[in-house]
Symmetry: C2
Subunit: 168 residues, 2 copies
Amino acid sequence: MALSMYEVTVPVFVRGLKVLAALLTKAEQHVEQRGSVPDAMISARLADDMLPLSAQVQRASDTSKMSVERLSGVPAPKFDDNETSFDQLRQRIDNTIAYLESVPAGHFDGSEQRTITLNFGGFPDFTGASYLLTFALPNFYFHVATAHDILRNQGVPVGKRDYLGMFV
Amino acid sequence: MALSMYEVTVPVFVRGLKVLAALLTKAEQHVEQRGSVPDAMISARLADDMLPLSAQVQRASDTSKMSVERLSGVPAPKFDDNETSFDQLRQRIDNTIAYLESVPAGHFDGSEQRTITLNFGGFPDFTGASYLLTFALPNFYFHVATAHDILRNQGVPVGKRDYLGMFV
């Protein structure tokens, strides 16, 4: 076996969240340069019944912290989903990273075999490994990529290299 | 160590590619029901300078097969990027899956330490583990999520449960 459960969770999520914070900063700069309204960017979405930018950030935060709580057993902080500014969204990200980085790597030992039961969505039980690989990671990247896609759709000058974290 | 390099590559990519094929089928059904033009859906994009749906599928194919080639040493097939129909895009996915599933798990042994050098983009050298976790997986999910986002933006009735592969 080549990878620990810790390696495929905490550093991966921290990196993705830093990417997201950097994307938000580029979006904020774009709004300032255009003299447009931050609220319009923060509430932008790709379809009427799809979550806006702010909620993509909140769900990336939740997916990462709840995955780590379920796998490590260390309770994650609860946040109120009331962020309405770029500063507040970056603070949410910082608070999420602080929790992730507080969890000792040893708490993930054996988590690949742990039974993970979600109390929503009608999903079957997972092992820790299948939960991480078929639910947590795809879900996390969905929200980071969709945040990026919303910014692209809104004309913010970001691209794949931002998403891949070459500048983080 | 809890996870093998094989577990975090081949089954993950195969699953994501099947999700992508199922999304394409829903897009095709939507086009048929609307009596609209398949070409418009296949060339849809979120920004003028962003890749269209067909290219998101081609890049998901490339990311998965090139990652597996680099980590396993088993040469991947080359494809011409000339798909212009839903059938051709699904065939591209099937051909990609056939290659991925042909690679023996044992060929990934020790690949976490292998030096991976990309001949584009100005990236520093990776270890196999860092290549997988900071480049290959984020890149792969980017293209699957963006394909989903293009369909959502075009009004195709798909959602997170399709993306997560609950129906695959």
